[in-house]
Amino acid sequence: MATVRRSALATMRSLITPEGVDLQVKLADAGTRAAAFLLDVVFIATAAIAVTIVALFGVRGLGTDEMQPLFIVWIIAIFFLRNVYFIAFEAGRRASTPGKRIVGIRVASRNGAGLSVDQIIARNLMREIEVFLPLSIIAGRSGMGVADTLTTVFGLVWALLFALFPLFNRDRLRIGDLLAGTWVVEAPKRTLMEDLSARQDPVAKTFQFSHAQLDAYGIAELHKLEEVLRRDDYFALRAVAETIGRKIGSTPQAHDARPFLTAYYGDLRAHLERKLLLGTRKADKHARGSNAGPTRLP
């Protein structure tokens, strides 16, 4: 668990607003970004196929003499589709392409200031050499029948070098991000959930906990308990209720797991929040803090 928390902390970056509040942005991980990119590629490919079908119908309606201008329009349309898609969407209010929006990430400026359109353009033009250029070189070569092993290998190595670049720096930057001064952060839309300690449960009211029983756990365990309660999985609730019951020496009935945990969560939170007001932040169950008097640095 310690390693999990450390790796989560490694992707947190502070973002201090002009009002002086640290908003703590989380960098998007490589897998999420790859997923977003693949989604975008699917969208672009779909649009490209649609353009092609329209172009083909145009050809059928016209004579072969009009083939040439249509062919030109087609090539230019495909080219613009690819290049404008990313820039137009990321320059919008939400600074994310549809693919990024689906996985809940967006582009942000590394220095915390506003994102300018120039930055968007710079980071997306670099994508051209990171991904599309080696691909089009390979495709073009194989189209002409001169794709030898060497060019293919070269193209692949090139593509991999750039594709894996984000894995080799701590801010998960593409070359384009590096030059544009941007990074990609998580921007999830969260809804306001119910306050668990305000939950009205008649059975829960019957449980009472002593000071010592509430001192058994700290904030880390409280948050785990909150997660379990929100997930509301019967077996998980029972297992957690048993563990807590054993630790504090009060075993509830099996069917009482949920009200028991609700009651314990409510009391534990009130207990820890009271301590917080008094200046003691008890990080987890190992922290001494209840009787140690004033706050001690860990």
Binding site: L15, T17, E19, V21, L23, Q68, P69, F71, I72, I75, I76, F79, A88, A91, G92, R93, A95, R106, A108, R110, A113, G114, L115, S116, V117, D118, Q119, I121, A122, L125, E128, I129, L133, S136, M144, L178, L179, A180, G181, A187, K189, R190, L192, D195, S197, A198, Q208, S210, H211, H223, E226, R230, G249, D267, R269, A270, E273, R274, L276, L277
Partner: protein, 343 residues
């Protein structure tokens, strides 16, 4: 150990109640802010009434202060996560896009594009010089040994043009508007040239060396082609054929090379900034120039696709090519004087 302590429970309840009332009282503001954000993210800010627009920063500050309070006093992690995500959305909206895309486009053509090109004047000179060196070298190489032609120009692009082709064939290629292959080729060349331009820009970060080579080689190809026509006494005619779109296109490629060189030299010699910051700084100027370059290449593609086949008079070809060049130079380097005079 199991006996409950009533006094403690009462004190705990008091904390619980004050936090619950904090949430109850602020919740309406959070919801209002969230609803407004959802609307402005979907549509332009004009969709809001003036009152709503003015309330946005107030609601944002209220959410931020709620977040600070919640972080200090509450242990409800879902609440803190919600407030963090709400504040972040608000922050990105209020401090994010400072200018709308449409206003940005206007600014781009009036100030940013010519400004970026002017900023790159030194690199542009170097880039143009390199291209001329390349042209000279290509012409000289092919003049000294015909074999160089095949080495410099890939056979797919040459399409029968070569040192051994007859003057009649070469001439027909310059003036024959009926050549079905050529117009498709022009579109291919448009995307090809945009890719050369992007390559020249993008490879710049490797200390500008690949960009320099690319500029030289591009010049080399041109020089080799020139030499073939010149030897058959068709130099002026080829000049016209190229000039109609070439002035725009070659200028655009030179500018792309200049943008790449700017990035490369800034990474190599960052000055007082860190290498990363210098690269980011140069990247922004260069990217602005690059968007302009693709607009120029679009013009070049249109001139090439339409003009080259329909206009067959040498004089008109030179006039259009020269006119375009004058237009670009005037727009980039003289436009500023007019604007400053207006101020």
């Amino acid at each position: 150990m199991n006996s409950p302590v009533p006094g403690d429970a009462v004190r705990g309840d008091a904390v619980r109640q004050s936090l619950a009332s904090f949430r109850r009282e602020r919740e309406a503001d959070w919801k209002a802010f969230e609803a407004l954000l959802a609307r402005v993210e979907k549509r332009a800010p004009r969709a809001l009434s003036e009152e709503e627009l003015l309330s946005l920063p107030l609601l944002y500050r209220s959410a931020l202060s709620s977040l600070s309070v919640a972080r200090a006093t509450s242990l409800d992690s879902a609440l803190i996560a919600y407030l963090e995500s709400l504040s972040l959305r608000g922050y990105f909206y209020l401090y994010g896009a400072r200018r709308g895309l449409r206003q940005r486009v206007g600014d781009f053509f009036l100030h940013d594009w010519p400004g970026a090109i002017r900023d790159l004047w030194r690199e542009t000179l170097v880039s143009v010089a390199l291209m001329f060196v390349g042209i000279g070298a290509g012409a000289w190489l092919v003049a000294s040994d015909k074999g160089w032609f095949d080495a410099i120009i890939p056979s797919g692009l040459a399409a029968g043009r070569g040192p051994d082709a007859s003057a009649e064939l070469l001439r027909r290629m310059l003036y024959d508007g009926d050549n079905s292959f050529l117009s498709g080729f022009a579109a291919y060349l448009f995307t090809h040239n945009v890719q050369v331009a992007i390559l020249a820009f993008a490879l710049g970060f490797a200390f500008a060396a690949p960009t320099v080579l690319l500029m030289l080689f591009n010049g080399c190809m041109l020089g080799a082609l020139f030499q073939v026509y010149w030897a058959k006494g068709l130099g002026m005619e080829l000049g016209g054929w190229l000039a109609i779109h070439g002035t725009t296109e070659l200028f655009a490629i030179a500018l792309a090379g200049a943008a790449g060189m700017r990035i490369g030299t800034r990474i190599a010699f960052p000055g007082e900034l860190t290498r990363m910051a210098a690269a980011a700084h140069a990247g922004r100027v260069a990217a602005t120039a690059m968007v302009g370059v693709s607009v120029m290449l679009l013009f070049a593609g249109l001139l090439e696709g339409i003009g080259r086949q329909t206009i067959t008079s040498d004089v008109t070809r030179y006039a259009i090519g020269g006119g375009m060049l004058a237009l670009w130079i005037g727009y980039f380097y003289l436009f500023q004087v007019v604007r400053n005079g207006d101020r």
